[in-house]
């Protein structure tokens, strides 16, 4: 049952993220699947906002083990979000 769910999720992820198959005549016209003719947005980074959001999300998931789980989740989520935000591709 879990394998079925995972397979369906993988299928959806593949469909949403793969390169378009309808522009095979001219490979240079390939567009990202999420939106035809999309252009990457300009990057305005706010690391502390990302860190705060990561802290919030990690703390929410850390409720599985209240107290220490919230603290660890907040620190790990905030630190990883801040680190990813500082990456060259973000």
């Amino acid at each position: 049952m879990n394998a079925t769910t995972a397979s369906a999720c993988l299928l959806i992820c593949y469909l949403l993220t793969s390169q378009s198959a309808v522009a095979l005549d001219n490979p240079t016209e390939l567009t990202p699947t999420l939106m035809a003719g999309a252009e990457p947005s300009s990057s305005t980074t706010h690391p502390w906002v990302s860190a705060g959001a990561g802290c919030l999300g990690g703390a929410a998931l850390g409720t599985v083990l209240p107290g220490i789980g919230n603290i660890i989740g907040c620190i790990a989520g905030g630190a990883s979000a801040w680190w990813l935000q500082r990456g060259p591709t973000r």
Partner: protein, 259 residues
């Protein structure tokens, strides 16, 4: 619980989570494409996705396998919804146990309920020790982690016993009332868990671009609201269940004593 009712519940909760994820994927798609978050832009994005899904069955168009592929995809979608509901049902207790223990101790297992102490004394070999530890330990005993895990186990055992006792002793109308409350509680808890997952997903959103006010609103403000709403919903519904159980437990224990 009847199988059809159970499937309906899984369908509702799984559908809510997938709908939430669909909305999140739309927001993410608009962000990656660099477009404003407006409904017309979302419609364009959905049309593009629909075209992508149509291409999946394109190799089978006009062939004998075409209806089978369509049926297979539809079946897969239905199974996905039910499995998602089941996974939510399984994961929700991990998130909301703390809130449930708080309401359980506030509205059901209270030290000043002498009649409840008598009932637990009668069934002491089964749950007496769990009951004594549960009502004496503070609900915020989180450290060391083994203590919290033990408290969780005690809560689960006590709740299972009380459900069994009520279903064994309650009359027809009372059983229906209890079943309805339990069904409502489980469904709302799963929906709340789906709101938690959506909130966590939103905290990873909008890392680039936009002004800072919008970013704070989307990645911190809305998730915090979702977490608060899910906590309030779960507490409210579980409080109602505990009140119902308390009334039924009192009446059942009185009837037992009178025999």
């Amino acid at each position: 619980m009847k199988p059809m009712v159970q499937l309906t519940d899984y369908g509702i909760t799984g559908g809510v989570l997938l709908l939430n994820l669909f909305i999140f994927a739309t927001l993410l798609g608009l962000q990656i494409a660099g477009h404003d978050i407006t409904f017309p832009q979302a419609v364009v994005l959905w049309q593009h996705w629909a075209e992508r899904f149509v291409t999946l069955s394109a190799p089978f168009t006009g062939k004998l396998l075409e209806p089978m592929v369509s049926t297979f995809l539809a079946t897969l979608a239905v199974i996905l919804i039910f499995c998602t509901g089941l996974l939510l049902e399984m994961s929700a207790p991990w998130i909301f146990t703390l809130l449930e223990i708080l309401t359980f101790k506030r509205w059901l297992l209270r030290k000043d309920y002498a009649w409840l102490g008598d009932l637990m004394q009668v069934h002491h070999p089964l749950i007496g020790e769990d009951y004594l530890h549960f009502i004496n330990d503070p609900p915020w005993a989180f450290w060391p982690p083994q203590r919290w895990i033990t408290q969780r186990a005690r809560y689960t055992r006590l709740q299972s016993f009380l459900f069994s006792y009520l279903f064994f002793n309650a009359r027809g109308a009372s059983v229906e009332q209890l079943q309805e409350q339990i069904r409502l509680w489980r469904t709302s808890r799963s929906v709340s868990a789906s709101m938690i997952f959506l909130g966590v997903a939103l905290t990873t959103y909008a890392q680039d671009g936009g002004n800072i006010g919008e970013q704070i609103l989307i990645v911190i403000g809305i998730p915090a609201l979702l977490f608060a709403a899910s906590a309030i919903t779960t507490s409210t519904i579980h409080t109602r269940l505990c009140m119902t159980m308390c009334s039924l437990l009192y009446l059942s224990s009185r009837a037992d004593t009178a025999k």
